[in-house]
Subunit: 290 residues, 2 copies
C-alpha cells in the first residue's frame, strides 16, 4: 500500500492542484477551495478508485486521476459545509483551522458550492466514453444528493435530538459516510470495465468498508486524543451524538467492527482480491490507542 | 406570452413537484427544498428554455420540462444560499420568509446543496441523447461554478468594500446573473438542435438579457417598494452596493438599460424571432414605479 500511495498520490495531488489553478475564478475563491483540498487527509476515496483500477490492470492514467480528483473535491465540499458554525461548528480539521475560520463563513459556503459544482463539471472534461461519463455523474449525484449524503447529514443533525436504534444509526451512516465510499467502488468499477458480478461484489465491499469506517471513527472519538486525530475528540459524547460505542459499548463496537471487516474481507475473497492493494484497505482499522 | 405561460407553466410546476416528491430523502429536507422551489417567482429561466424550443418548433415535452426544471432547481439553490445570514442576510424572498427563517440555517445550507446536486443528477435521467446530456451538464457546470455564478457571488460580496468601475460591475454581473440566463439559451439551443449561427445569436441574446435584467433589478431597488417587490428595497444604497444607478445615476441607468435591450432585440431580429415568444421577454423591462 505504501508503495502504491507513493507511486500514485503525488500525481493525484498535482492533477487537482493544476486543475484548480487553471480555473478563471476569483482569487479568494480559488484560495479557499485549494486550502481545504490541500489540507490533505488520507485520500481514502480516491485511493479506493485507483486500487480497483490497479487490481483490474487498468492503468492509472489522466482520466482515472480526474475521476478520483472529482470525488475528492466533492468530499472536501462536504467537509467544509459540515464544519460551518450552523452545522457541526468545528474549528479544527486535520490539525488546521477549518475553512470558515480562515476565509470567513460566506466564502466557506461558496467554496463548498464551487467544489460541488466542479466535481460534476470535471467528469465531463475527461476523455472517457459518453456512457461512462454519464454513469459516473449519475452515480455521483445519487451518492451525494438528497437520496444519499445530504439526507445522511440531515438525519445526523436531527438524530442529535433523538435516541436512535442500531438500525437507524446504520441507515444514517450508510448515507452520510457510506454513500461516497460505495461510489468510489462504482467509479473504480466503471473505469475498469468490470462485469456485473464483480460490480456487485465491489459495491458490497464499498458499503461494508463505509460502515466499518464510521464505527472506527466513533471508536477513535472515544479512545484517541486531539493531537493524534487533528480534530476535537470526545465530541460525540459531549453533544449526545448517537454512536456505535454509545449503543453497543466500546467492546461491543469493536466486536461489530470485526464482524463488518470480516464481511468486507469475504467480498474480496470472492473477487480473489484479498491479496491486492484492496486487501490492504482493511489494515486501516488498527486498534489504535487501546 | 400569457397564453404560453398558461399552457406550459402548470405542467412545469407539476414536473418539479412530482420529481421532488418522488425522492427517497429525509422529510424535512424535501420540505425545505420544495418550500423554496414552490415560493415561485417568475420562472424566467425555464420560460426562456421553453420559448426557444417553441420558436424552433421543438415540442415542450418531458425532457424539455426536466431541463427547464433542473435549471430552476439550480437557481433556487443559489437564492437559498444567497439569503443566508453570512451572505446577504435576507429575511424575505418573494414576499415569504426565506428558507433559513423557516427551516433554520443548517437545513437551508443542506437544502441548497441538495438542489444543486439534483440539478445535475436530473439531467442524466432524461431520454435525451448522451451527447446532449453531457453538453448540458458541461454548460451548466461552467455557468454555475467557480468560472461563473459562484465567482460572481464572491466578487459581489468583495465588491461591497470597493468602488467598482462600470466595467468591473458588468463583469461581476455577467457571472452572478448573466451566466444562468446565458445557460438557459444554451440549453434551449441544444434541445432545439440549432445550427452554429443560431446558437451564437441566442447566447448573445441571453447574455444581453442577463445584463438588462441586472440593471433593471438595480433600478427597481431604487424606485420600487417592498410591497411590490416581495423583498426588501433600498437595500443596495444602505449597504453601499455597487449598482448601475449608483454609478450612472437613475436616468443614466435607464439609458443603459434601453441600449442593452436594443442590442438584445437586434439579435432577435437577426434570428427572425422578434415576433415570437422570445420577443415578449423584452417586455419584461417596463418602467414600473416611475
Amino acid at each position: 500500500m505504501k508503495d502504491f500511495q507513493e507511486q500514485n498520490l503525488p500525481k493525484f495531488e498535482k492533477k487537482i492542484a493544476s486543475f484548480l489553478g487553471s480555473l478563471e475564478a476569483e482569487k479568494t475563491l480559488k484560495d479557499a477551495m485549494s486550502y481545504s483540498v490541500e489540507i490533505g487527509g488520507k485520500r481514502i476515496r480516491p485511493l479506493m478508485i485507483m486500487a480497483i483500477c490497479n487490481f483490474f490492470e487498468r492503468p492509472v492514467d489522466d482520466d482515472v486521476l480526474v475521476i478520483a480528483g472529482s470525488l475528492e473535491l466533492l468530499h472536501t465540499y462536504s467537509l467544509i459545509h459540515d464544519d460551518l458554525p450552523e452545522m457541526d461548528n468545528d474549528n479544527l480539521r486535520r490539525g488546521k483551522p477549518t475553512n470558515h475560520k480562515v476565509y470567513g463563513q460566506a466564502h466557506a459556503v461558496l467554496a463548498g458550492d464551487g467544489l460541488l459544482t466542479l466535481s460534476f463539471d470535471w467528469i465531463t472534461r475527461t476523455n472517457l466514453g459518453d456512457k461512462a461519463k454519464l454513469d459516473l455523474i449519475s452515480f455521483l449525484g445519487k451518492a451525494a444528493g438528497p437520496e444519499g449524503m445530504v439526507s445522511g447529514q440531515v438525519a445526523d443533525i436531527e438524530g442529535e435530538q433523538k435516541i436512535l436504534t442500531l438500525e437507524q444509526l446504520q441507515r444514517v451512516h450508510a448515507r452520510k459516510t457510506g454513500a461516497l465510499l460505495k461510489y468510489a467502488c462504482q467509479a473504480g468499477s466503471i473505469l475498469s470495465n468490470v462485469n456485473e458480478r464483480e460490480f456487485n461484489l465491489l459495491v458490497s465491499f464499498g458499503s461494508l468498508f463505509g460502515l466499518a469506517f464510521q464505527i472506527y471513527d466513533d471508536i477513535l472519538d472515544v479512545v484517541s486524543t486531539t493531537e493524534k486525530m487533528g480534530k476535537k475528540v470526545h465530541k460525540d459524547q459531549s453533544e449526545n451524538k448517537n454512536t456505535y460505542p454509545g449503543i453497543l459499548g466500546l467492546e461491543g463496537a469493536y466486536k461489530m467492527l470485526d464482524e463488518v471487516i470480516g464481511k468486507a474481507r469475504n467480498e474480496l475473497i470472492r473477487l480473489d482480491a484479498v491479496d491486492s492493494i484492496l486487501g490492504d484497505f482493511l489494515g486501516y482499522f488498527e486498534r489504535k490507542g487501546n
